[in-house]
């Protein structure tokens, strides 16, 4: 096939995919249906792989489809379905507009050692120490962090500006949504990658995908045995070199009539660029291909896939650095254990599966999920942690669980979530307004959805909080609403392993339906 339609199809599909991902992360008014994220995220390679390992169902087998697609068509995934890849194409276009030079790529030698080393290190690191390298390098998670830390706040600012103007005209269809920032240091990783990926894609096309991205490298290996590829018609070619100049992957050596399939992302630009129609996309000559294959490379590809599949199993046996509860203190709210989101099962369980794509942080309607700094240990940096100073976990909400693509937060129905104890409230009497000021407060008990925090008689007419911790679910509404500063009088200490809370018991009231006015 040498039709210009191929490129057009690529542009249309990738644009749609990009818009879908953009909407997924900046859904500021929570209007997307609950299964939207499942559909959009189905084909994402790393999340799907992790999810498949956890669930083992075909519903989570998107990565297998990606592997199949790659075996048939080469790295089409990188051009059609990877949001980070599509975003880079967008940047490359912008780069070309800024300076024409940026869009004249030309053939370059591959960074063989660098890219295979990164792939190998990622695999080995993930097997031995846990998920941190994947967290850093999974392209979907990188994209997710760009959206969460840069795109969504920008959309919020625009929204608030528009809402402000509409409000002046008495129209409230848009509402002001406060932009809550994250700890400054948590921007460092996304910012670093944004600069790296941004500069590379502005000036060098898909160099990031072909030098650093481990998913790109892995699929590149696999596409060396793919059935469909781009190929030269040597008779028609005039060796003008326009294809090589226009190749984002810098993988066309037009003098030798060679296209490096391990780097080609099937963008099909070359087909359209070639005036002589000398480049086409089609079934590879099988005889010739057998000639070119290298047994050792095949073994490596097969080995890599086996390793990827087996890796989470191997990592089970490893010692984790999840924090263990220390001795509890009284006056200062000192958490001995962070609180990880419901569905995580426990800190260790959760942090080994989460690649910090930050979708849950973006999607949380109450802003309680914040990127962890060192709460889960350094390897758990950027993974979501409950911050009850910023928000609380809404009793009727399972949004984070619903959107999690890697199954780090496992599916859980609302009724089960309402009985999952992710932490326990601890009351510090010496900080409490009722004791220090001798005035009424009760903000904590007011907010408690299970009445685990309730008021008991204190001095005179006053009442003071008390916690029944077996019905507390650790939602943190009490901590969030406690007005004392700088230390709260009530806070939630995380459960290292989530427990089951008891259902709050309730009895009929003694007050009955009145038959007459009591006044």
């Amino acid at each position: 096939m040498r039709s210009p339609v191929l490129k057009r199809i690529r542009v249309v599909i990738s644009t749609l995919v990009f818009i879908c991902f953009f909407l997924l992360f900046v859904d500021i008014r929570s209007i997307l249906p609950a299964n939207y994220s499942d559909i959009v995220l189905f084909l994402q390679f790393v999340p799907s792989l992790l999810r498949f390992h956890d669930l083992g169902t075909l519903a989570a087998a998107g990565f297998l489809i990606v592997l199949l697609i790659t075996l048939f068509t080469g790295r089409t995934y990188c051009s059609f379905f990877c949001p980070l890849g599509i975003g880079q194409d967008l940047f490359s276009r912008i780069g070309g507009r800024i300076r024409r030079k940026f869009r004249r790529y030309g053939y370059k030698k591959p960074f063989t050692i660098i890219r295979y080393s990164i792939l190998a290190i990622t695999l080995i690191f993930t097997m031995i120490w846990g998920i941190f390298m994947l967290t850093l390098l999974d392209p979907y998670s990188i994209f997710g962090r760009f959206m969460t830390y840069f795109a969504k706040p920008a959309v919020l600012v625009l929204n608030n500006f528009a809402a402000g103007i509409l409000g002046k005209f008495d129209v409230y269809t848009l509402s002001n949504i406060p932009v809550k920032g994250y700890p400054l240091i948590s921007y460092s990783i996304p910012a670093f990658f944004f600069i790296l990926v941004g500069i590379l894609s502005l000036t060098k096309g898909r160099l990031y995908c072909n030098m650093i991205c481990p998913v790109g490298t892995l699929l590149g290996l696999l596409s060396k045995v793919s059935l469909f590829r781009l190929k030269f018609d040597k008779k028609a070619c005039t060796r003008c070199g326009r294809c090589a100049l226009g190749c984002k992957s810098s993988c066309i050596d037009f003098l030798k009539h060679d296209i490096d399939v391990s780097r080609c992302v099937d963008c099909f630009n070359c087909i359209n660029i070639c005036n002589e129609k000398a480049i086409s996309y089609g079934l590879v000559n099988l005889k010739k291909r057998n000639h070119e294959t290298d047994e050792s490379k095949r073994k490596f590809v097969a080995g890599s896939i086996m390793l990827m599949l087996g890796l989470p199993h191997i990592s089970y046996g490893q010692e984790k650095k999840a924090p263990k509860p220390k001795k509890e203190s009284t006056v200062r709210e000192e958490k001995s254990c962070p609180v990880c989101p419901p569905g995580g099962g426990g800190i260790e369980d959760f942090s080994k599966d989460c690649t910090a794509c930050s979708l849950c942080i973006s999607a949380c309607p109450n802003g309680v999920l914040q990127p962890a700094l060192t709460q889960y240990g350094l390897a758990g940096m950027m993974q979501p942690v409950m911050d009850y100073h910023k928000g609380f976990c809404a009793y009727n909400c399972t949004v984070c669980i619903d959107v999690c693509p890697t199954n780090a937060l496992r599916p859980m129905v609302l009724e089960a979530k309402k009985l999952t104890q992710i932490g326990k409230a601890i009351f510090i009497k010496d900080n409490c307004i009722v004791k220090t000021e001798k005035t009424a407060c009760g903000a904590c008990s007011e907010s408690c959805p299970t009445k685990a925090v309730h008021m008991i008689p204190y001095e005179g007419n006053l009442v003071i909080p008390e916690v029944t911790d077996n019905i507390c679910i650790g939602c943190g509404h009490c901590e969030n609403s406690c007005p004392t500063v700088p230390y709260k009088a009530i806070f939630v200490n995380g459960n290292p392993v989530h427990l089951a809370a008891r259902k709050p018991e309730n009895v009929e009231s003694e007050i009955k339906t009145p038959v007459d006015f009591p006044f």
């Binding site: 008014r29 929570s30 608030n160 500006f161 402000g164 103007i165 409000g167 002046k168 008495d170 409230y172 509402s175 002001n176 949504i177 406060p178 309607p365 109450n366 809404a394 009793y395 009727n396 909400c397 307004i433 000021e437 005035t439 009424a440 407060c441 009760g442 903000a443 008990s445 007011e446 907010s447 408690c448 959805p449 299970t450 009445k451 309730h454 008021m455 007419n461 009442v463 609403s481 007005p483 004392t484 709050p504 309730n506 009895v507 009929e508 009231s509 007050i511 009955k512 339906t513 009145p514 007459d516 006015f517 009591p518 006044f519």
Partner: protein, 308 residues
């Protein structure tokens, strides 16, 4: 003009317009003063009907809603929408009641009716699951967000003991008539929440109230000059324990009642009796009475009691 320049200029112009708009003053808003009631009774209490039917009857006894709402006026209806729970839990004002009041307002010629609450749970879900958003919109009211500090304006409360200033929702200042529509509930700390405590959903910084003598702050706020023209207390389903949020339906008792009054302190005093509470047990009511903000001596008042 180059395309790039055009974009630069249009963005600049847009920003300037926005900035100019946001600097508009609120001086003109003080044109109307609080209403002096011309109602026939100080209080009307109705029992035995549905929330909307009880309101129809009660407001008729007070001379119709036109006693309070004049043609062309903007009305603020402030229900309790604090919690993300279904109407049967009675943590929020009954949506049928809210809807009926809005309909009466428009019938009397109101130009616009607004509804908001500064919720404790997520505001989008609270507005939705309380049933109030849909009910209010179906009656033609504007349901307005109150989730961001940008909607609030600083006001002074001269004479406040603990609360001398607060940030209140701009629509309280922009509207001509304020109708307070609380739901009566038990409250574990202040014993009861009703008319006066419903104002905590008008202000931005509730934590200040909680940490500076909550009961005094509740009473202090009632000094603010923009007072409700009418209070409609929803006692249809009443949360008698585990308030103000409730745990399950066992906390709710059906009382099928409603209290309409122009005196919100009196309204709270009557409501306390519905809960079986001695009025002096609810500290902020006694404080408000002593500050001269209303009357707790129900015996001295002209009360109309109706059973349907």
């Amino acid at each position: 003009m180059k395309r790039r320049d055009f974009f630069k200029k249009s963005v600049g112009a847009g920003l300037a317009t926005g900035a100019a708009l946001s600097m508009g003053g609120y001086d003109k808003l003080w044109a109307s003063s609080p209403l002096v009631s011309a109602a026939r009774y100080d209080m009307v209490a109705v029992m035995g009907g549905n929330p909307d039917a009880m309101f129809d009857l009660g407001i008729q006894e007070l001379g119709g809603i036109s006693t309070f709402v004049k043609k062309g006026q903007k009305v603020l209806i402030k229900p309790n929408i604090g919690w993300d729970v279904i109407p049967e839990m009675a943590a929020n004002t009954n949506p049928f009641l809210v809807k009926r009041i809005i309909e009466h307002c428009f019938k009397a010629g109101a130009k616009e009716v607004y509804v908001f609450d500064h919720t404790l749970d997520n505001w989008v879900n609270s507005y939705k699951n309380s049933g109030i958003e849909r009910a209010a919109k179906s009656a033609g009211a504007k349901v307005v967000p109150a989730n961001s500090e940008s909607y609030y304006h600083q006001i002074e409360i001269p004479g406040g003991v603990k609360l001398q200033s607060a940030k209140v929702h701009q629509l309280l200042l922009e509207t001509d008539v304020f109708i307070n529509v609380p739901v009566l509930k038990n409250h574990e700390s202040t014993k009861m929440t009703c008319c006066l405590k419903n104002t905590m959903g008008i202000v931005w910084d509730r934590k200040y109230w909680h940490s500076n003598n909550l009961n005094q702050c509740i009473a202090d706020y009632a000094l603010f000059e923009k007072k409700p023209a009418l209070n409609v207390i929803d006692c249809y389903n009443v949360m008698v324990k585990h308030g103000p949020q409730g745990v399950s339906k066992e906390d709710v008792v059906q009382m099928k009642s409603q209290i309409l009054t122009t005196d919100w302190v009196a309204g709270d005093a009557a409501a306390a009796k519905m809960l079986g509470l001695p009025v002096e047990k609810v500290e902020y009511i006694s404080i408000a009475h002593k500050m001269g903000l209303g009357n707790i001596n129900l015996d001295s008042m002209n009360i109309k009691r109706i059973k349907m």
